[in-house]
């Protein structure tokens, strides 16, 4: 048998069910591969004992015929999720050493479905970033290399560790979170599939908050089917999260059974075309539309007139919420506390937060504090909320005409670690295609669709109606087959 780490989740599950392999063997295979790829810095902590213990339990459950939908599948967990007794820091120095006495609902769900945790993955601090350069634990390297040079590339962010781990096959799939593109953008940069479900599909309980009205958990995997399996495992109503939706989780995997897109209308938003759009990306986008057309879909031009405001709106709302969400990291109860040479309470706060947070987090706390301040609230925060409503209405109008919207996931392929834009706004432009989706609360998936001339993966994004992840998986499956993306990072 070839390397067990080559198996997709669906294949591994098949092998396990047929007792061709055991969960313990599978976990060990991943662990030995992890040893060889520590240089990507994808994991901030590995949990081999937990993995082997869980794999053993999975083998027993499989033997008894009581396997869950992810029984024995080794996964990686973004460090944003609180995992009981295991380091959970959101890759921030302010939470250094923090081990929560509780398990997030999403991880509890996926472990309940049988998944085995290999470790926690690196990410941008508090999920703020698009290149995984803002981590307390250092940058993550993309397993992909481009043809023209041997530079280390970024994996995207903020779920950069998760995406890199999936691309490097040092996990079968990984949990991510997406506030403005943090699953889809790294998926695009690493040639993996990433889905951000509808806001409210997954519980946010125990997921360290960045921007509460935008944060959603999701999955990164090698195939659309694997992403569907994982999403099904983590979804579901949770009474502990007031914004989680009280609805049944569909059998997402079944949506893939329909192998065509006959009768579906695919929208192409004209506003996403711009003169600045990289011709390579434009070409890929057109190919995507062609493939779907050939499979029976109708391509429809649509308009999302307010999408040009999405980025500024996002960079008002997300920092505003973050400035408040991150106030709890004050050095009083847990995490970092700096009292040395702090002569007053205020000094303790300033030193602790000054040292504990990285520069991007500080920048966003300042922006958020500013836009909520007296005298500026109406001009920024309130105005942004109004425009957010218009953006939602754009999508509502569009979805009266089409079933799914097709766009590029990112405006470019992965860039090198040392090519980080000096202007933060340049960096924020990475999320230009993904951010409107979060503002509208709707689901979207990124599917690898081709290679850049440099030989780097590029993804296409499918945006769906509220609660209609099933159509995304169906169309995503068709796109995946048509693109026939087989190249691996290594």
């Amino acid at each position: 048998m070839s390397d067990l780490t080559d198996l997709t989740i669906a294949e591994a599950r098949e092998h396990l069910a047929q007792k061709k392999i055991s969960a313990v063997e599978l976990a060990k295979a991943y662990q030995s591969r992890m040893v060889g790829h520590k240089d990507f810095n994808a994991y901030i902590i590995e949990t081999p004992e937990i993995a082997l213990a869980a794999a053993k339990v999975s083998d027993e459950k499989i033997a008894k015929g009581k396997a869950g939908i992810m029984e024995g599948i080794p996964i990686a967990v973004k460090d944003l999720f609180c995992t009981r007794g295991v380091l959970s820091t959101a890759c921030s120095g302010i939470l250094a050493g923090f081990k929560p006495p509780y398990e997030s609902t999403v991880t509890a769900n996926i472990f309940g479905a049988g998944a085995v945790m290999l470790g926690k993955t690196n990410m941008d601090e508090f999920a703020m970033g698009s290149a995984n350069l803002n981590s307390f634990y250092g940058a993550v390297k993309n397993p992909w290399k481009r043809k023209k040079d041997n530079k280390d590339l970024v994996p995207g962010g903020s779920s950069g560790g998760s995406a890199a781990a999936v691309a490097a096959r040092i996990c079968a799939g990984a949990l991510g979170s997406d506030t403005g593109g943090s699953i889809r953008q790294p998926a695009s940069f690493t040639g993996t599939v990433g889905i951000k479900p509808t806001y409210g599909r997954c519980s946010r309980w125990g997921m360290i908050a960045f921007a509460s009205s935008l944060d959603q958990a999701g999955s990164i995997a090698r195939t659309v089917q694997d992403a569907a399996i994982m999403l099904e495992a983590i979804s579901g109503f949770d009474e502990k999260d007031s914004t989680s939706a009280e609805m049944q989780t569909p059998k997402f995997e079944k949506a893939l059974a329909v192998k065509d897109v006959k009768g579906l209308k695919i929208g192409i938003p004209k506003e996403y075309h711009s003169e600045r759009l990289d011709p390579e990306i434009k070409k890929l986008w057109e190919s995507g539309a062609d493939w779907l057309k050939k499979q029976g879909a109708e391509i429809v031009d649509i308009s999302l007139p307010h999408s040009k405001y999405a980025l500024p709106v996002y960079y008002i709302i997300a920092p505003a919420e973050a400035s408040s969400n991150l106030a709890r990291y004050d050095g009083v109860r847990y995490g970092l506390r700096i009292v040395e040479s702090a002569d007053s309470l205020d000094e303790m706060y300033m030193k602790t937060r000054g040292e504990g947070f990285g520069p991007e987090v500080k920048r966003r706390i300042m922006m958020g504090t500013y836009v909520l301040s007296a005298g500026y609230y109406d001009a920024y925060y309130r105005q942004a909320q109004k425009v957010r409503k218009l953006i939602i209405r754009d999508f509502d109008e569009a979805f009266k005409k089409v079933d799914v919207i097709l766009t590029p996931t990112t405006p470019s392929a992965a860039f090198a670690l040392d090519e980080k834009p000096t202007d933060p706004v340049e960096m924020y432009l990475n999320d230009i295609f993904t951010v409107p989706v979060n503002l509208a609360g709707i689901p979207a998936i990124s599917v690898p669709a081709g290679l850049s001339k440099d030989g780097l993966p590029l993804g296409l994004q499918l945006i769906g109606k509220m609660w209609d992840e099933e159509t995304l998986f169906r169309v995503g499956g068709v796109l995946e087959t048509a693109a026939d993306f087989k190249t691996r990072a290594l």
Binding site: S212, S242, T243, S373
Partner: protein, 481 residues
């Protein structure tokens, strides 16, 4: 209305109160942790109350019910849609770094409260709004010379902040307002009103002006924890302001603290130092939407309110205004009275409670809740008076014993042989005795000295030890004389 006499004439106070009332609820506003008072520090703290990473608030429906119940009792507008906002500030006993409160869309809108001033005057005071919010924890500064300790037991307990219009004009009115608010909340069971435990506290906004003139600059006095302190703090503050203005100074808008030991208010922070709380809707909670049915259901369970009760006592039970007011002042008193009056004449019951029971309780320094005489026993005593088992005079003796022993009156009367004599033969015998022993008085009476009738009654009572029925004695004496 009393005014402050200054050197330049009279001044009028303008006062508004913000009452913070802890909601009577077993669990906190956004977590399942217990709200029991007096537990060991940090033993009633959920992950949410401690603001652990990734924790989320879930609204306690019972607290919402309590707020609506209070709104209905204050004849206020119930807002079917309200919004929870975050009030952001840093303090160690505020774990989230923000308090979840309601800013621009409170659950309860305008209402009113009627004050019955001691002179008999009625004053209507407007309620601006009532909103729900989280209480903070407690900072303990007295546990160590170098550290502050934090107790999060109170963190996240539900508070109702009830804001009045600036309709109060004297410190006394402010005191009456607080009493009335407390009375209403206790009647409907939405707050225990225990100011000593901090279940009810208030901030007072005070300014002075020439009567009917332009509003003055106000100062806010924080955290007043007794009615006595509210009155003293307002009186001090108003006098301070008058002195400054008359001295040619200006009032600075600021937040002040009252020091009950020195009986003065001091600057806590000036307007310039005021926090910018950066209120914004809490993205962890959707707007709170109530149905009219939800409100109507609560309305049906609303008990009779003190004002309505008092009016009914006067109208239906024919009690005096005074007795009705006294009997409805406290929930416990009303309950006691209604229990006694259930089987007895309400007027007689009212007299016994206000005169006899209260007299003894006051003397013993007890509240009605600690009364040694149960309502059932008072009721049975009043019944015994009504059916002539004992006279009113004997009843007082019996009541003394009841107050001392807590025994029921029937047993006492029986054991002490205090039943009223209603046997005509027996009474006649005593009457005859008295008449025979006082022939001269009988002659004087018959000669027209009517006043002597009372003398004969008194003699009969004395010999019988007060046990004979006075009405029967009267009848017999009249017949015989």
């Amino acid at each position: 209305m009393s005014l402050i006499k200054g050197n330049t004439g009279e001044w009028e106070m303008v006062i508004g109160l913000e009452v913070h009332a802890q909601v009577n609820s077993n669990s906190k506003l956004f977590s399942g942790a217990s709200t029991h008072f007096g537990a060991e520090p940090n033993t009633q703290v959920s992950l949410v109350d401690a603001a652990m990473p990734g924790m989320l608030p879930v609204l306690n429906e019972f607290c919402v019910e309590q707020a609506v119940r209070t709104g209905l009792a204050l004849k206020a507008q119930i807002n079917l849609k309200s919004i929870f906002d975050r009030k952001n500030y840093f303090y160690p006993d505020l774990p989230q770094g923000y308090q979840i409160s309601q800013f621009s869309h409170p659950i309860i809108g305008k209402g009113k409260i009627i004050l019955d001033m001691p002179g008999g005057e009625k004053r209507e005071i407007g309620i601006t709004r009532l909103h729900l919010e989280q209480d903070a924890g407690k900072s303990l500064h007295d546990q160590s010379p170098s550290s502050t300790f934090i107790d999060l037991n109170r963190s996240g307990i539900a508070l109702m902040e009830i804001v009045s219009e600036p309709d109060l004009r004297t410190a006394e009115e402010a005191g009456e307002y607080m009493k009335k608010m407390r009375q209403i909340l206790r009647y409907i069971g939405t707050c225990d009103g225990d100011m000593e435990k901090g279940s009810m506290r208030c901030d007072a906004n005070v300014s002075v002006r020439k009567p009917g003139g332009k509003l003055g600059t106000r100062c806010e006095i924080k955290n007043l924890n007794s009615i006595k302190n509210i009155i003293k703090a307002i009186e001090y503050e108003a006098a301070r302001q008058v002195e400054i203005i008359e001295g040619g100074g200006e009032i600075r808008q600021e937040t002040r603290l009252f020091d009950p030991d020195k009986n003065e208010t001091r600057t806590m922070r000036s307007k310039e130092d005021a926090h910018d709380y950066r209120y914004f809707p809490d993205p962890d909670l959707y707007p709170l939407v109530l149905t009219q049915e939800f409100v109507d259901k609560i309305k049906k369970t609303l008990p009779e309110l003190p004002d309505e009760k008092r009016e009914r006592y006067v109208r239906e039970m024919k009690l005096s205004e005074y007795d009705a007011a006294v009997l409805t002042a406290e929930k416990e008193t009303t309950e006691y009275f209604e229990e006694v009056a259930k089987k007895t004449d309400p007027k007689l019951a009212a007299n016994w409670i206000t005169a006899e029971l209260f007299g003894r309780l006051n003397k013993a320094g007890l509240g009605i809740a600690q009364s040694p005489v149960s309502a059932a026993n008072t009721s049975s005593l009043v019944s015994m008076i009504q059916d002539n088992t004992i006279s009113g005079k004997i009843a007082k003796q019996v009541f003394d014993i009841m107050f001392e022993t807590g025994d029921d009156p029937k047993t006492i009367v029986k054991n002490h042989g205090l039943e009223q004599v209603t046997d005509t033969g027996a009474i006649e015998k005593i009457v005859d005795e008295v008449l025979a022993a006082n022939p001269d008085k009988v002659a004087e009476y018959k000669g027209g000295k009517d006043k002597l009738f009372g003398f004969f009654v008194g003699q009969v009572m004395k010999i019988s030890g007060g046990k004979v029925n006075p009405a029967m004695v009267n009848d017999l004496l009249k017949k015989k004389l």
